[in-house]
Amino acid sequence: MIDEELVQLLTPEGERVTHPDYASTLTGEQILSMYRDMVIVRRLCNESTSLQRQGQLALWAPIQGQEGAQIGAGRALAPMDFTFPTYREHGIAWCRGVPPEDVLRLFRAVSTGGWDPQKYRHHVPTIVLGNQVLNAVGYAMGIQRDGADEAVLTFFGDGASSQGDVLEAFVWASSFNTPVVFFCQNNQFGISTPSSTQSRVPLFRRARGFGFPGVRVDGNDLLACYEVTRAALENARAGGGPTMIEAYTYRMGAHTTSDDPTRYRVDAEVEVWKHRDPIERIKALLVREYQTRPASFEAVAEEAEAFALKLRDDVLAMGRPDPLSMFDHVYAEPHPLVEEGRREMAALLAQEGAH
């Protein structure tokens, strides 16, 4: 192993390695099913990028390269755990059972949320960097008070790790020993800003200073991400308090469809990371160890194509929201200003309709 601090259970070539603290517990069947998740989520990203290019989405934030981190972490969750995502956790949303077209509502600019967060136990996306990390700690404080056997998994990026909210969340989680796991995907960039601008030391080492363990895991290694997250969540549920996981990975695509990475990074770097692809790695393992046949991979690929077609149809069928819906749910109780605005707009729309 090159980096002693990096938890890795599978090399980029798909060969198993041992680790003193973590061992893979997944069966071949489970690994194949997680392979399928990764392929579908990647297909979701490709389709969404095309939809954006065709003017059907306002924006898209791709996760190519981060599928191992997200499916690994997402599948480690217990059903009753609660997750707090950023805008990029499409793989987690998938694992939580959020309908894929709902993930695209925000990006199609028809919603500022997209799904029922209680139903899927997956909070709505947070775009203001770091906000959700404090919210996650608060949720975990609630779990403590309820004495429930649950944990919270919250996400943020290397960029967001500099926000006061994230660091304050560390203090609170530590101080109250809350059942929360901080999952930081270090994909090496904010938008253009390299992670070295955010931290001069590996990010996971920050955790120790706050009083809880930090682990750096190979973010392109599905098996390692799964085991490290599972252990941290179990520890949290058992009253062991917070853990910070730094999934060391790479954003293969642009920051979003509005971004132009050629302005700040070189192709050679991207090439290096291509060889560490999380999906290829699992495929190699499946072939080598489980003799998975080409037909199985083909079946997954076909399923992903069908999935993409349906996703496209579902998105195109998403109508423009009723403008009056902007007045819904602003408050829990009736509010005169909102009702006045609703009446004003309704009259305007009626007037336009009459013309």
Binding site: A109, P321, S325, M326
Partner: protein
């Protein structure tokens, strides 16, 4: 007179460049403003020409960008802080309201807080949430802060330089939906003072006042109204705090009617302030009550329905009809 045609984005870039050439104490701080040139490319090429000490790609924390700008100001530097979008200024709100706005007073005038906070604001670009907000009223409400907004490339070029030269802290609001529209820039003569309101179209029946992206909408409304025989006087506010009331008063004394336009929610807002103040100052010359055309009391909606939220030509003209039809 040397004039050049350029976009507002380019005009801001040139204005920043001139300010940096003139004063070595000027530096820019923000997220992704160096190599990338900012997400809107306003600072494009400046890091290459002025170096990393003067065009700083900061760690990702708005409170820190403004908080350190305060320390730099104490040390004699003039920081121009870029907030990537309107919706991301709030982590810095504490520093802006608690320190930036108050330190001149608390130091009995020993410190000057000559810093600028650039804020791409307002909607109309079809963006996802937090990228289309109009938070200017929070800042205008705070004693110690000044707030301005440009609506043309020429103003962008000059107002950013005037803001940087000012010894007071200024929230500089840039209408992002107008970044890519071109206009003439006079590179030699500043148009007028930083806070001066400007009559963009002379009219006789109704004074329509607004700022930033609303100016173009108001001008389009004036065209349509003209065709219907009503003459609108369109005023670009420019100074949001302080507001140039003498210019507004002169106009309302002439027209007797007032409409204030903004994208921000109507309640406790700039348009509320304009209507209230002019009601007092033009008590006997107003021929109809002043009206506001503004955003609603809801969080900025998803972009697919943002045009119903933003003041439109139609909504301005409805207000025009109301003040014209009014019989007191």
């Amino acid at each position: 007179m040397t004039t050049t045609t350029m976009t507002m984005a380019k005009a801001l870039n040139e204005g920043l460049r001139r300010a940096m050439e003139r004063d070595p104490k000027v530096l820019l701080m923000g997220e992704d403003i160096g190599k990338l040139g900012g997400v809107f490319r306003i600072t494009d090429g400046l890091q290459k020409d002025f170096g990393q000490d003067r065009v700083v790609d900061t760690p990702l924390a708005e409170s820190a960008i403004v908080g350190t700008a305060v320390g730099l100001a104490i040390r004699g530097y003039r920081a121009v802080c870029e907030m990537q979008f309107d919706g991301f200024v709030f982590p810095a709100f504490d520093q802006i309201v608690s320190q930036v706005a108050k330190l001149q007073k608390r130091s009995d005038g020993v410190y000057t807080m000559g810093l600028v906070i650039r804020l791409p604001f307002q909607g109309g670009i079809g963006a996802i949430e937090h990228h289309s907000e109009s938070p200017e009223a929070y800042f205008a409400h705070t004693p110690g802060l000044r707030v301005v907004s440009c609506s043309t490339p020429n103003d962008a070029y000059w107002m950013i330089q005037q803001s940087i030269e000012s010894d007071d802290p200024i929230i500089f609001c840039e209408p992002k939906s107008r970044y890519w529209e071109k206009g003439e820039v006079d590179l030699e003569n500043p148009p007028q003072g930083l806070y001066d309101a400007v009559v963009r179209r002379v009219g006789t029946d109704v004074t329509v006042v607004g700022y930033g992206s609303s100016v173009k909408t108001m001008l389009r409304a004036a065209e349509t109204a003209q065709a219907e025989g009503v003459s609108l006087e369109v005023i670009d506010l420019r100074g949001i705090a302080p507001i140039d009331f003498p210019t507004l008063v002169a106009s309302v004394q002439k027209t007797g009617r007032l409409i204030a336009v903004q994208e921000a929610p109507r309640t406790a807002s700039i348009s509320s302030e304009i209507v209230a103040e002019l009601t007092e100052r033009c008590f006997y010359s107003l021929r109809a009550p002043g009206l506001r055309v503004a955003g609603y009391h809801v969080p900025y909606p998803p972009a697919r329905i943002e045009e119903e939220y933003r003041p439109s030509v139609g909504r301005i003209l409805d207000a025009v009809d109301r003040v014209m039809d009014f019989e007191g």
